[in-house]
């Protein structure tokens, strides 16, 4: 693993938020390097800044200070359009509360990233291939029969698997998961973790945020975030 290239690197990342009259300094020089094909878990107590760190890593937020680079490219130096493309093509997000769009079917939710990157004309020309990819993902996630259902007709575990399918739709290099099992019972959560393990075995790079050390142990490496810094690395 150590000879594989680093695809994601965060150096001395600072981030603060204004909460009412006070300013909360959440990240105080966090560092992280993720190699291609790695499964990294970021662990930390509630309020330690792990979700914020994940958002910064995925280009959803910009750091106040420090550098986040993907494949050697500083995300701070790219424009909004490029950052949108980065989020669309290079990274996939899985959230604790799934965040599926209720108006869309399961299949359409999975197709969403592909729809975002295509115009109507582009969609018409590539629709078949894209749909095939989405159906294959649903197949892989055991949701083939649920393709036409709406998210509210699914269980929590099924919803999270749909969210994973959506995150993987555009074949991103990096999968970022924010407490992916936090809203699930332990059996269902284990099922989701198994999906992550399977994906990782197939070469998918994953960075997962969790507060549960037991879940974090599923990853190859654990990074503990405390006092706004990544303090400890575990293999």
């Amino acid at each position: 693993m150590s000879q594989l290239p680093v695809i994601l690197k965060a150096e001395n990342v600072h981030k603060s938020y204004r909460m009412g009259a006070t300013r909360v300094h959440v990240l105080k020089g966090a560092d992280l390097a993720v190699r291609e094909g790695e499964f990294v878990a970021i662990i930390g107590a509630s309020g330690s800044g792990k979700s914020t760190f994940l958002h910064v890593l995925g280009g959803l937020d910009r750091p106040d200070k420090g550098v986040v680079s993907f494949n050697g490219r500083d995300l701070n130096r790219v424009g909004a359009r490029e950052l949108n493309r980065f989020r669309n093509e290079r990274v996939g997000f899985v959230f604790q509360f799934y965040h599926l769009l209720d108006e869309l079917s399961v299949l359409e939710n999975v197709l969403l990233p592909a729809m975002v990157s295509r115009s109507v004309l582009g969609w018409i020309t590539s629709r078949r291939a894209v749909r095939k990819r989405a159906e294959a993902l649903l197949d892989q996630l055991g949701l083939r029969e649920r393709a036409g259902h709406k998210p509210y007709q699914l269980s929590g575990g099924e919803r999270q698997r749909v969210a994973i399918g959506r995150a993987l739709m555009n074949e991103p290099k990096l999968l970022l998961a924010d407490e992916p099992t936090g809203n699930l019972d332990s059996a269902t959560g284990n099922g989701i973790l198994n999906v992550f393990e399977t994906l990782n075995r197939a070469g998918q790079t994953i960075v997962m945020v969790t507060h549960d050390e037991r879940i974090a142990r599923k990853a190859q490496r654990i990074v503990t975030l405390a006092d706004g810094r990544a303090r400890r690395l575990e293999a």
Partner: protein
């Protein structure tokens, strides 16, 4: 592609969207119906006034009139501009029905019926002499007598359907018209002896122009009789010449050319007796000449349009509220869209497109409902009258036939365009707020 998909889904699934569409449809329905009826009434009234006076009028408000009109008409004839000309004398008289104790102050219009028919729609307004309007002043029951034509509302009542009960023949009625004849200096012609000049006419026909003020107050008499009754002096005078331009001559251009001709004519007559009477003559197109009657209706229409601007603002506000609620409700979805790469502009376009669709669908529904309602408006009014005795306008009072219901495509295009624009404007701020939302603010209520 996702924008189109989401717009369609939001339109189909969100109940609040249906309320927004209903609000827009209702506003459009009201505007379409009221504007169509109002525009129809104003348009109809203008057309009737145009038909009544022709394209252009060379005339004066003075009851003294102006001389040399025949020479000027020759000039006009030579110019090749005109298809018809009719000299008229307008004045006021006291009408007395012979053998009846009935007196009425009326407006009189002295005309040559043949010339008037060529210039205006006078012939079509007649009832008994419609086929031979040049004989309008020959009473059917006594063709050699001197006749006069009355505005229809002066003699016939209208029923609730705005219809008149015409007889087979005009009633045999003799009336005396009494005027103050004026000399060319504007003084009473018979001062000290014959101050009033009466003349008796037989009633020969009705004239129905559809203009309440004309039909309820105007009596047509032969031109030469009007000149005898109202004027004195060696020079024959008229108060106006009505002109109909040849096809292809625009009213504005024709009026300008007639004004030029009049200026030249006036100059040429500078040394003629009473040429000062030519100075107060103006050349106006029909709309300007009848502005005292048309302007109030146009002002009412303008006021109504202003009120509908307020209706439009209400629509903007309704759409703003609805979209603000939708955006607040969809904050998380917006975050998700941005997390999968949707740009700010793309989110702005999503909600603007959604607003556009709401406006377009609402407008189409409103227009369709308006069209269906207008197509049946007269039947609905008739039904209401038959069952509840209610009428929008009491036809026994107002000179209105059917309620206008002809939809003008241009008016519809403006209304639909305005409604769609109102929706897009109303959604602009919520769409902008949606576009500006930072995904981290929406995806995570509490940061950890």
């Amino acid at each position: 592609m996702y924008k189109l998909t989401l717009i369609i889904r939001y339109l189909l699934k969100r109940r609040i969207t249906h309320f927004a569409i209903a609000a827009v449809a209702l506003c459009v329905f009201i505007v379409v119906v009221v504007m169509t009826v109002m525009a129809g009434l104003v348009g109809d009234f203008k057309q009737k006034n145009h038909d009544f006076v022709g394209d252009c009028v060379v005339g004066t408000d003075s009851l003294v009139g102006f001389p040399y009109y025949e020479q000027f008409m020759e000039r006009l004839e030579q110019s090749g501009l005109v298809a018809g000309m009719s000299p008229v004398v307008k004045n006021y008289a006291l009408l007395t029905v012979v053998d009846h104790d009935f007196k009425l102050g009326v407006e009189i219009l002295g005309i040559d019926p043949a010339l008037q028919c060529r210039t205006t729609n006078f012939g079509q307004t007649l009832h008994f002499r419609a086929a031979e309007p040049e004989r309008a002043f020959q009473p059917i029951y006594e063709p050699n007598a001197l006749g006069c034509v009355w505005g229809i509302d002066m003699i016939l009542p209208r029923n609730a359907q705005s219809q008149y009960s015409y007889g087979v023949r005009p009633p045999k009625l003799a009336v005396t018209l009494t005027c103050f004849p004026l000399n060319a200096k504007g003084a009473p012609a018979g001062a000290g002896s014959n101050l009033f000049r009466p003349q008796t006419f037989l009633y020969s026909d009705y004239s129905h122009t559809g203009i309440a003020r004309v039909d309820g107050n105007l009596v047509y008499i032969p031109l030469e009789q009007a000149q005898l009754l109202c004027m004195s002096g060696q020079q024959k005078r008229v108060t106006a010449i009505h002109i109909l331009f040849r096809p292809g001559v625009g009213i504005a251009e024709g009026t300008r050319q007639v004004a030029d001709l009049w200026a030249q004519f006036k100059k040429a007559q500078a040394d003629a007796p009473y040429s000062e009477l030519l100075d107060i003559v103006t050349v106006q197109d029909w709309k300007r000449y009848r502005r005292a009657f048309i302007a109030p209706m146009e002002k009412e229409q303008a006021l109504l349009s202003l009120m509908f601007v307020l209706v439009g603002l209400t629509t903007v506000f309704i759409v703003f509220v609805v979209f603000y609620m939708i955006v607040v409700n969809k904050r998380r979805d917006i975050g998700v869209l941005k997390s999968v790469g949707a740009s700010n502009v793309s989110v702005l376009l999503l909600f603007s497109g959604f607003a556009f669709s709401v406006g377009l669908i609402g407008s189409c529904v409103g227009t369709l409902a308006g069209w269906l309602f207008l197509a049946r408006i007269n039947r609905i009014e008739q039904w209401l009258y038959e069952h509840f005795g209610w009428q929008l306008w009491d036809r026994t009072i107002y000179a209105i036939g059917d309620i206008p219901s002809r939809i003008e495509p241009e008016v519809i295009a403006i209304i639909v365009g305005s409604a769609v624009a109102a929706c897009v404007i109303g959604a602009l701020i919520p769409s902008y707020l949606a576009a500006r939302l930072r995904p981290v603010e929406t995806l995570h209520a509490v940061r950890t």
